[in-house]
Amino acid sequence: MARIELSRLAHSYQRRPDKAEDFALKPMDHVWEDGEAYALLGPSGCGKTTLLNIISGLLRPTSGHVLFDGRDVTDLPTEDRNIAQVFQFPVVYDTMTVYDNLAFPLRNRKISEHEIQNRVGEIAEMLDLVFCLKQRAGTLASDARQKISLGRGLVRTDVSAILFDEPLTVIDPHLKNSLRRKLEEIHRQSKLTLIYVTHDQTEALTFADKVVVMHEGEVVQVGTPQDLVEHPAHTFVGYFVGSPGMNFLSCDVDGNFAVVDGQRIRLADDTPSGAERAGDRWELGIRPEFLQLVFDRPKEGLQAKITNIEDFGSSKIVTAAAAGNTLRVRLAEEDEVRGELGWLVFPPERSLLYRNARLFREPTGRRQ
């Protein structure tokens, strides 16, 4: 178990990078605390696999350092970093039995055969592999083979960290939840540092204590699932997490109002004076589930024309045009859409202000 620190880390796949866009990973500092379960979330091409490969030692960064418990391991190969890895596709020895596959990472480590037997038994029990311990791995279906792969990653208790790269992609949807539960149990028991890479928000939010969101080679937010939903630190997080994503409206700022297409929307508290700078790009962000649609004229709100309703049975997503923008509103099953024209109401405590794509301040007045 280890605390993993990335110091002024950057990476480019080009030989002489000079522009920001030449970097797959832009300069960053980040700490993975000992014993926490992290998800590394982002779309394909955001740099998450590059980052994982640098931590595991498969890739040497262009600049910066990787420290495990304060020790610089930047130049150490994977095998000297004492980490376990689980990949997207099963990595197993087909001709070996399931037992030998699971025991493999423990052998040559001066661990007694008795202890190996105990540990393999525990892992096999946890992953429901007991019934096939004597079978050859090659004879099993891909689900079971991926479980062996997971087991090989989890079998050692002395590793610095376990890195998972989209490990449940090939798993049948019905089995996914039972494996997610196993991972949570394992984390609770072992308190290992876990880093789980995925592009799937459900996978990330379900697995992690803290989610690290990446976008175009940068970490744009590190937060709990609740932080990501309620206070996205960057417009990308608002868009990427949640379904549909957050609504963003281009705006100007005037005191504690956002001005959208000439219409004023009240914010929770005063904008600090001197916040406006020439060239800044302001946006008002609100999630579809916090935006309200009403049909009796409210005290404050934007008049909206409803252009579409998607009825999901348990909820409805309404698309509405207002103040030159297209917005999505989530309604409950019972909520009625009474006509084609309505008003959108922005609860001030849920209406967030973004400057140049970054959360400017929280409605509590805490400034970012």
Binding site: E184, Q226, I306, S314
Partner: protein, 365 residues
């Protein structure tokens, strides 16, 4: 022109892929085929297209028997899950290809390609090669090629399945608008209940080679004819547990008995299967008459701003779908509550007996 399946079946090597099936798709209608992997969706699409011959029965188009007519002579367009484009043709030439094959005049081709390209936002990419496009744009090209033909029948086999989640969300709405405007009979196969519901139209539920039910998507959701349909048309699937009605009280699995709600009053005493949608299993009590179930968390699955709490109820796996992020730990003890007026009743063999009163159905575009 309607498309009619009259007693169509398909057997491959002695194995039944499609049991005898009848349905009629109205001219210009928008239909979804909803079923899990292996249910028979692709087989049905291939039979409609004429790519495969049925083992029994007849297919009629415009009251003409087309059962033996080869696919070339039918006016059909198809979009697949994989992005199928000509890699060395530009986007323009990809879209134009079916029109060129049909020998249509150049100026007319140009007009139709540009019209379709504009409709699905490809007008700025007409000179690019498919490899220079994102996955979403590549699938738009395949779709444009299918639309430009003005086919009588437009078949889409899980066209968004290979796209990432965010793109799917965006394209789904756009597709619905484009496809419902088309004059063709559109049949859209999907494995995702949310997609079928969001697309709307006429939904055909397919399971193990059988059509279980068909009708407007929201109608099938609110009046599923059987437990199986109820589970296939929801995500997460409807929760089901055995229970009984006795002495004017209803009991679901391990829940406490409560007074029988209005919509189930006419039911005789006895054993039933009861169903509850996951969004009607709550973590707070709304009324003193609510059914309470004490259990433990199997897993709290958080997706965006919703949490699905999985738990065991009477040996079945149940889900409570809640708004907001609820980070509950594995094995944490919880109580969940159900309003009795939300309960579906099925007979022990799974046929629907009574559904809850319908919520107000919204105005729709």
């Amino acid at each position: 022109m309607p498309l009619v399946f009259d007693n169509i079946s398909k057997t491959v090597g002695g194995e039944i892929h499609i049991h005898p099936t009848d349905f009629r798709l109205a001219p210009g209608s928008f239909n979804t085929l909803l079923g899990r992997a292996g249910a028979g969706k692709t087989t049905l699409l291939r039979l409609m297209a004429g790519l495969d011959r049925p083992s029994g029965g007849h297919i009629f188009v415009r009251d003409r028997d087309v059962t033996k007519m080869p696919v070339r002579r039918r006016n059909v367009a198809m979009v697949y899950q994989e992005f199928v484009n000509y890699p060395n043709f530009t986007v323009f030439d990809n879209i134009a290809s079916p029109l060129k094959v049909a020998g249509i005049e150049r100026r007319e081709i140009d007009r139709r390609v540009r019209k379709v390209a504009e409709m699905i936002h490809l007008e700025d990419y007409l000179h690019r090669l498919p490899a220079e496009l994102s996955g979403g744009q590549q699938q738009r090209v395949a779709l444009a090629r299918a639309l430009v033909k003005d086919a009588d029948l437009l078949l889409l086999d899980e066209p968004l399945a290979n796209l990432d989640f965010k793109l799917r969300e965006e394209l789904r709405l756009e597709l619905r608008n484009v496809l419902t405007r088309s004059n063709a009979i559109v049949v859209y196969a999907t494995a995702e209940p949310q997609e079928a519901l969001a697309l709307g139209g006429n939904t055909i539920i397919v399971d193990e080679g059988r059509v279980l039910q068909q009708g407007p998507a929201a109608g099938v959701y609110r009046q599923p004819g059987s437990v199986r349909t109820a589970q296939l048309v929801g995500d997460p699937p409807m929760n089901v547990v055995a229970g009984r009605i006795a002495n004017a009280a209803i009991q679901l699995g391990e829940g406490n008995p409560v007074a029988v709600p209005e919509h189930l009053r006419a039911l005789p005493e006895g054993s039933y299967l009861f169903g509850v949608r996951p969004n009607h299993v709550l973590m707070k009590r709304c009324n003193s008459s609510d059914i309470e179930i004490r259990t433990r968390v199997d897993l709290a699955e958080i997706s965006g701003s919703e949490t699905s709490i999985h738990f065991d109820h009477g040996g079945s796996s149940w889900v409570s779908r809640l708004d907001g992020v609820r980070p509950l730990g594995v094995d944490e003890p919880i109580s969940v509550y159900i309003e009795p007026q939300r309960v579906f009743a099925f007979d022990p063999r799974g046929a629907l007996i009574a559904a809850p009163d319908q919520p107000t159905v919204g105005w729709s575009t």
